[in-house]
């Protein structure tokens, strides 16, 4: 079975609804709010103005999910990683009442990973995810340009492919089938998603919450050829994309030559959660004499210093948990393909420990545990 396309999503019960996918999700959320089964919904919505402006909102009013309401669930856009938002929401304590969150697989994985890092509670969160066809880059969301992309997006989704204007990080993602969601909406490869929709229910809570929608139960297919095909395509693109990373010392220096040390990547990264990052702290502030020493040795020294140190150091801190969500690339002012680099390094670090970030809340983060006998070949 290809990695990531877990069969678990499709051995569970499915509810087939005779309504388009987006409408189904809206209806589900509206009903959940109206019935009081959930007290709020975290989903994408209009931030104001008729011309675009899309952001996550915590919705209380069911009217937001009516046909032309303010909420835009399933919109292919990620202005923030919802996992980071859920962490922020539950940092000081678990949700007192159920809240539904419409998230992408990488956002779900970030949520789970953050819970492992004690940065929030998963209690009372109803996760609604979907088989993911990626999102567009952040600048596609400026000034309402996103609307124009939607027809081609859904066209590609129905065919089981990804629009080539979707972010490269997404097109290379092999974790596009969510694990650990309460309800998964089948989207990728569903040719009839404008008319009908299947919701896969993976937990009891999911079943309870989905039961407020009218629908028929359906037989579940064991295999899903479309998902397998997509996995093959993505794996191929992933290899291509990783090959574009400039390797070696020279490649590293060239790549991060234009890094301005703004640390924006760290700020938007869902995994980077430190209140005061080491690289922003006093530990990285040096008296001038320190730099003069470096200067004397090398003849020249970039200012502000410690750019490559920050990048490699951030890799050492979080690559093991990187979920490949791509926020870093989106936010970089100098267009460095950070997500490609960090996903590649993340894949290497995760493979070394056979670790899968965000897959299972009980899978211990590799640097927090150890065995008496392991990795014997590392020490000489």
């Amino acid at each position: 079975m290809p990695e990531g396309a877990s069969s678990s999503a499709f051995t569970s019960e499915g509810l087939k609804i005779n309504r388009g996918a987006v409408d189904t999700v809206r209806e589900l959320l509206r009903t959940l709010l109206e019935s009081g089964k959930v007290k709020a919904v975290l989903a994408l919505g209009r931030t104001g103005g008729d011309e675009g402006g899309v952001g996550y909102s915590l919705f209380r009013n069911p009217a937001a999910f009516e046909a032309n309401g303010a909420a835009l669930p399933l919109l292919p856009f990620m202005p923030a990683n919802a996992g980071a938002l859920l962490s922020r929401l539950t940092l000081e304590g678990p949700l007192p009442e159920p809240v539904a969150a419409v998230v992408r697989p990488c956002e779900l994985r970030a949520s789970i990973e953050l819970a492992k890092l004690s940065q929030g509670y998963l209690d009372n969160i109803l996760f609604i995810s979907s088989t993911c066809g990626g999102v567009y880059p952040l600048d596609a969301g400026i000034d309402g340009n996103l609307e124009e992309m939607l027809p081609r997006y859904w066209q590609a989704m129905k065919q089981g492919t990804l629009d080539d204007k979707v972010r490269p990080t997404c097109r290379a993602c092999n974790n596009f089938v969510p694990e650990g969601a309460d309800i998964t909406v089948a989207l990728l490869g569903e040719a009839d998603l404008d008319e009908e929709c299947t919701l896969y229910v993976q937990t009891e809570r999911g079943a309870d919450f989905a039961s407020c929608l009218e629908g028929a139960t359906t037989e579940v297919k064991q295999e899903n050829k479309v998902l397998e095909r997509s996995m093959v395509q993505r794996d191929a693109f992933r290899e291509e994309l990783f090959a574009t990373v400039e390797v070696g010392l020279e490649g590293l220096i060239r790549t991060f030559g234009r890094c301005i040390g703004c640390h924006g990547c760290k700020t938007v990264c869902p995994i980077c959660h430190c209140r005061l990052c080491h690289f922003d702290s006093q530990d990285c502030e040096r008296p001038a004499g320190f730099y003069e020493g470096e200067l004397a040795r090398k003849g020249g020294l970039r200012v502000p210093p410690d750019t490559v140190y920050f990048q490699l150091g951030r890799m050492a801190h979080m690559a093991i948990s990187c979920v490949g969500c791509g926020m870093c690339t989106d936010v970089c002012p100098t267009d460095i393909p950070l997500s490609t680099i960090f996903s590649k390094v993340g894949a290497s670090a995760q493979a070394a420990f056979d670790y899968h970030p965000g897959k299972d809340v009980d899978e211990e983060i590799p640097l927090r545990t150890f065995e008496e006998e392991e990795f014997a070949q590392v020490a000489t």
Partner: protein, 396 residues
């Protein structure tokens, strides 16, 4: 500005002349090191390098087509824990020098042993535009710069009226290029430090065969051109600010301005005068229990999440507008093309004007919010007479 100056012969262009002069200063020990932008290894941007090897100056670029890192911030990072032990020259734009001076007053930089060398600045291109095609952009910038045509430059640069030394008297040495004959530029000392450097380096004065140029003549010509351009730019700035103020007036339009904001805080991070290790808006003060967020969502029907977008921007403005030097680094860093620099420079001008302060002019000007007079700003108070006079009449 005083009349102590010199002429730089620049047959191969001002850049080469300046680089040549800087090499001399290194060789003669006038400076131990130079802080100057240098092309990055990938040829795709520019980064500040502190260098003592004169050979590296060959890839240096005094006024590159973009400003990815604000020079004031670079100087701040270098000296925040104490002054340099050696003498350095920092070749920066006027707004970068002003930011350095502000940081010094904010105790986040130490300019002892730093000779601030500024140059007349025609502006820079938007960073994202430059990155799309560095080569063509560099050519476009070079052409526009020499013609002092600001139309391709960033909006912040287009309305800048602080592009020369008259408006950056804190710099120690200034290279004037505006209005100078091709092949020349002038060097003016802005301080005793700058004068000493000029004396030690003794750049040549220009002598032509038919006419002899007097330094004072050149200085006068340059100063007149600068003054004229400043007046024109000030008018442009005021007009732009008036238009902008109208465009964002009222809560609805202000919210519209920030509709695309993703709360990445890049603007705060690249700002030279935003120096807090942990920004208030990222601190525990704004991290609340879930009940708080749910209650707020309940009151309005929905709560944009993460919340407090407007609070962040207006709050940040209230924290740094008195020190804002309108450098525009924030706008270059915004991933959602929000015209944040234009808004902040409007707010900064107003705030500074109200407090009778201009950011970055001089180390001697006290920061407006750490000083006060007994007798000032009465128009924001309720007059004593109106409140108490009635009572006093009754009591009497």
């Amino acid at each position: 500005m005083n009349d102590k100056g010199a002429v730089l012969t620049a047959e191969d262009g001002v850049k080469d002349a300046l680089i040549g002069w800087l090499k001399e200063t290194l060789k003669n020990g006038v400076f131990d090191a130079i802080l100057i932008p240098v092309e990055t290894p990938g040829g795709d941007s520019f980064a500040y390098l502190l260098l003592q090897d004169p050979a590296i100056l060959d890839s240096a670029s005094p006024l590159p087509p973009v400003m990815p890192v604000q020079g004031g911030k670079a100087l701040g990072r270098l000296t925040m824990r104490g002054r340099l032990n050696r003498q350095i020259a920092a070749v920066v734009r006027p707004c970068e020098a002003r930011a350095a001076i502000e940081l010094c007053k904010l105790e986040q930089a130490n300019l002892e042993n730093v000779c601030l060398i500024t140059i007349d600045c025609p502006g820079v291109l938007p960073l994202s535009e430059y990155l799309d095609d560095p080569e063509t952009s560099a050519v476009r910038h070079a052409g526009a710069s020499s013609a002092w045509d600001r139309s391709p430059m960033r909006p912040t640069c287009q309305i800048c009226d602080h592009f020369s030394i008259r408006q950056a008297p804190g710099s120690d040495l200034h290279i004037g290029t505006l209005g100078c004959e091709e092949g020349t530029a002038i060097m003016v000392a802005g301080s005793a430090k700058g004068e000493r450097v000029l004396e030690r380096t003794n750049p040549p004065t220009l002598e032509k065969e038919e006419e002899s140029y007097s330094l004072n003549g050149l200085l006068e010509e340059w100063a007149a051109q600068v003054e004229e351009m400043e007046r024109a730019q000030t008018k442009t700035r005021q007009r732009a600010h008036a238009d902008l103020r109208e465009a964002i007036s009222g809560t609805d339009r202000l919210l519209d301005l920030f509709k695309d904001c993703i709360n990445c805080h890049n603007c705060q991070r690249v700002c030279p005068v935003c120096y807090c290790r942990q920004c208030y808006f990222e601190s525990d003060a704004l991290k609340l229990p879930p009940e708080n967020y749910l209650a707020r969502a309940n009151r309005k029907g929905a709560l944009r999440f993460s919340p407090d977008t407007l609070l962040f921007h207006i709050g940040r403005a209230s924290h740094m507008a008195t020190s804002c030097v309108s450098c525009g680094a924030c706008e270059d860093a915004c991933p959602m093309d929000i015209p944040i620099a234009q808004v902040f420079s409007l707010l900064a001008d107003r705030a500074q004007e109200t407090l009778g302060y201009v950011a970055g002019m001089s180390l001697e000007d006290p920061l407006p919010l750490v000083t006060f007079e007994m007798d000032e700003l009465h128009d924001v108070e309720q007059p004593y007479v109106k409140i108490y006079a009635k009572q006093e009449v009754q009591d009497a």
